[in-house]
Symmetry: C2
Subunit: 238 residues, 2 copies
């Protein structure tokens, strides 16, 4: 493990365990570099990540203050799969695989997914049950050439676990879009929507590998009253 990762995890744990309390200062960078016996640059690398994740607020000439976090619930900033979400929220849930097949990208699908025309992809439709109600419908496209031998069983469980741990794929980043769309016939058919609801929340994601290959396209359709998205955002420098 890298030095800055050790420091990062230690600081995270101490913040979580209230050794460094909300609205109080961490030891100074010089002190931390003595404590961990590393250079100040290494300490700063760990602190930068804490700041990016909204755990501390660094102030020039003053110190690094712990941002209050106890009142916050689950922060979904970044790529978060349904399974991670479920476990972090401690909710009962079930996943049902409705479609598991492959499909070739025609012009229209290629534009949607950002895959090349003619590329073969897995097409997976999954339904998620939360608190006994069908709440989320996930449609996924994975490129076959990068994820060979993906099975129905992987789809039931966590696909990402298989892709990252077993195949060693490096998922790098995603471009997401959240909109509110009209509920389709399929939505009404497969989800427990309130008949009065005309809309669902749609979360569309293009997912890319470390080499910029478009690898996955997902659309997630949520019952409107069960949807919640939170974000920690730092003010853009101008």
């Amino acid at each position: 493990m890298k030095k800055y990762e050790v420091i990062l995890q230690d600081l995270e744990k101490k913040i979580f365990d209230d050794i460094y309390k909300e609205n109080e200062l961490l030891p100074s960078e010089n002190e931390l570099s003595k404590i961990y016996k590393v250079s100040r640059a290494t300490v700063r690398q760990a602190l930068k990540i804490l700041a990016d994740n909204g755990m501390i607020q660094q102030r020039h000439g003053f110190g690094s203050m712990v941002i209050p976090h106890k009142k916050l619930l689950f922060p979904i900033t970044g790529l978060t799969s349904f399974k991670e979400l479920r476990t972090s929220m401690h909710l009962e849930s079930e996943t049902e695989v409705l479609i598991f097949g492959t499909i070739e990208m025609d012009e229209k699908l290629a534009t949607l997914t950002d895959f090349p025309v003619g590329c073969e992809a897995y097409h997976i439709l999954r339904r998620r049950k939360l608190d006994g109600k069908y709440t989320i419908l996930d449609r996924d496209f994975f490129r076959c050439d990068y994820a060979p031998e993906l099975t129905r069983e992987h789809a039931m469980d966590s696909t990402y676990e298989y892709l990252e741990d077993s195949l060693g794929l490096e998922i790098a980043y995603a471009q997401k879009e959240i909109t509110v769309d009209f509920a389709s016939e399929e939505d009404f058919e497969l989800l427990d929507l309130n008949p009065m609801d005309r809309h669902v929340v749609s979360v569309k994601s293009h997912v890319y590998l470390a080499d910029n290959t478009p690898f996955q396209y997902t659309e997630s359709r949520h019952q409107v009253d069960k949807f919640r998205f939170t974000e920690f955002a730092r003010r853009q420098k101008r």
Copy 2:
């Protein structure tokens, strides 16, 4: 201007101007440090920001590749005010100030805004017209003790310009939450909602200053079919 900022802006411009093209590599860090006559660490500081903003993808042992960006529309990651949004989208718009007053925080309001009980705050209600329709309703609370002499005129224009440029307030970060709520009577009264629509998209933000003071609370209510949120997200390291 700091050296890394000069490099950052130069690289941004060259990416935007297609001198460094999509899916091609930037010069290596060693080359860049020769080009700009700085240390490699300074180059890396600029590259880190480009990577955070989704402009490049860095790969160990390979190089920094320009992420395709031409197909992307407006990215709203971070704190983006209505005015910035409007100008970046080149949309016609108007702002109307419906309420401009002050209010003292009782127990309930204090919990909502995260301000201390008894604290005095500006209460501003604004309506935004897009393409001739009333589309967005913004309710703002600003702490009076940090923003003295905020006027109706500031509210008509950009409040952030006044707060940051004139008052020198350092807005640091925000915690945002997006949900779909039932449209209230007020929403129906003040917005051009489709009578069939029962919902609006609600974006709630707590905004904090550099010293962690809760300074602003905003709720923004959007006509569902006009709402769109996009995000660039890097995969969490595990």
